[in-house]
């Protein structure tokens, strides 16, 4: 019976760890999204220097979580998100306000889709 109790606890623990993972991933993607939005806002105000800093911060935050993201996400998803952030950074460096807006939307959308796919919803399960 001890084995069964251990296994039952292990299953519950796995579910708990998975739920903690959802919160952690949501927090990570939200932070990246917030930094991209901040960067886009500063770019709109013509403060390109701060916009660059915020965009770089977003890229650094995502790349610093590389080990974690490669453990829990499909590797092509991680790479595509990184490419989207770099695409946004390029437009910020080029000081192209319109293009930066489009690139920001693409990067934000990529982040939100990564977060959404891990949420426990009927759509995600089935």
């Amino acid at each position: 019976m001890k084995k069964e109790i251990f296994i039952g606890c292990f299953l519950v623990l796995m579910l708990a760890a998975a739920i903690v993972n959802i919160h952690f991933l949501t927090k990570l993607t939200d932070n990246v999204v917030n930094l991209i939005e901040d960067s886009e806002k500063y770019a709109g105000q013509g403060d390109w220097e701060t916009a660059e800093k915020k965009a770089e911060e977003a890229a650094r935050l995502w790349s610093d979580s590389d080990t974690y993201t490669h453990l829990v996400l499909r590797h092509p998803e991680v790479e595509t998100a990184m490419d989207a952030i770099y695409g946004f950074m390029e437009e910020i460096y080029a000081k192209e306000e319109g293009a930066a807006k489009g690139a920001a939307e693409a990067a934000i959308s990529r982040m939100q889709s990564i977060s959404a796919i891990e949420q426990i919803k009927i759509g995600s399960i089935f």
């Binding site: 019976m1 084995k3 069964e4 296994i7 039952g8 292990f10 299953l11 796995m14 579910l15 760890a17 998975a18 739920i19 993972n21 959802i22 490669h70 453990l71 829990v72 996400l73 499909r74 590797h75 092509p76 796919i117 891990e118 426990i120 995600s124 399960i125």
Partner: protein, 226 residues
């Protein structure tokens, strides 16, 4: 990750129920819950192996979830007769007093050909010699012959028997299994003597040597040492 666990639990339940509905003839010496694990685990493990872009956790978590399901279901099956009947089904008598119970055959979707095949595998060609034929929960057929058709035993013939026990391997492909040698009450000195009697220089020249409780020895020398 949570999605992987929930999906695995749903698929596990769905496949167990499907296999139960499909009936015993689909199984083949495995209970439905065991078959699900056997079928799914190999496929789940293959995905991260084939695609290096998929994290290993995507394979490990469903495998661990299946392992948990299997242990918990087995515990439930051992504890509760009702649960066992639900998960594994019940054995069905398909031959009674030498007659085929067609209703049970139909229920288990078993054809006369398949029944004949199962009987032939048991060296039974005449169904009328079978008192009971029971389709077990793992899909195999158990048979009980009429007593006048059952093989004779030495006891029925009042014949004395010499129970020699189970032969134990003491040399396996040149290696001496010391534990087995000791269990049988022998030692290396006895072994060397046995080898010497057979003109064998060392245990490495022996392919297989077994000894039973009556000290009967089976001996096979390696082909290149003959």
């Amino acid at each position: 990750m949570a999605i992987a666990i929930i999906r695995t639990l749903i698929l596990y339940a769905a496949i167990v129920v499907s296999l139960r509905i499909m009936g015993k003839r689909q199984l083949g010496e495995l209970e439905p819950a065991e078959l699900v694990v056997a079928v799914l685990i190999s496929d789940l493990a293959a995905h991260p192996l084939q695609d290096i872009g998929t994290p290993l956790l995507y394979g490990l978590i469903p495998v661990l979830t299946l392992l948990c399901c299997e242990v918990l279901i087995t515990a439930g099956v051992v504890k509760s007769i009702r649960f066992r009947a639900f998960i594994c089904g019940k054995p069905n008598v398909i031959i009674h007093q030498g007659k085929i119970i067609q209703k049970e055959m139909k229920k288990n979707r078993m054809t006369p050909d398949e029944l004949s095949e199962q009987l032939r595998k048991k060296n039974i060609v005449d169904i009328s010699t079978v008192k009971y034929g029971i389709l077990e929960t793992d899909g195999t057929l158990s048979t009980v012959l009429y007593t006048d058709q059952a093989p004779l035993t030495p006891k029925q013939m009042n014949l004395p028997t010499n129970d020699v026990g189970y032969p134990v391997i003491v040399i396996n492909n040149g290696r001496v299994i010391s534990d087995n040698l000791q269990k049988m009450g022998f030692n290396e000195v006895w072994l060397k003597k046995q080898l010497k009697n057979r003109n064998i220089a060392a245990p490495r020249d022996v392919y297989l040597m077994t000894v039973d409780e009556s000290s009967r020895i089976y001996f096979a020398v390696k082909d290149n040492c003959q």
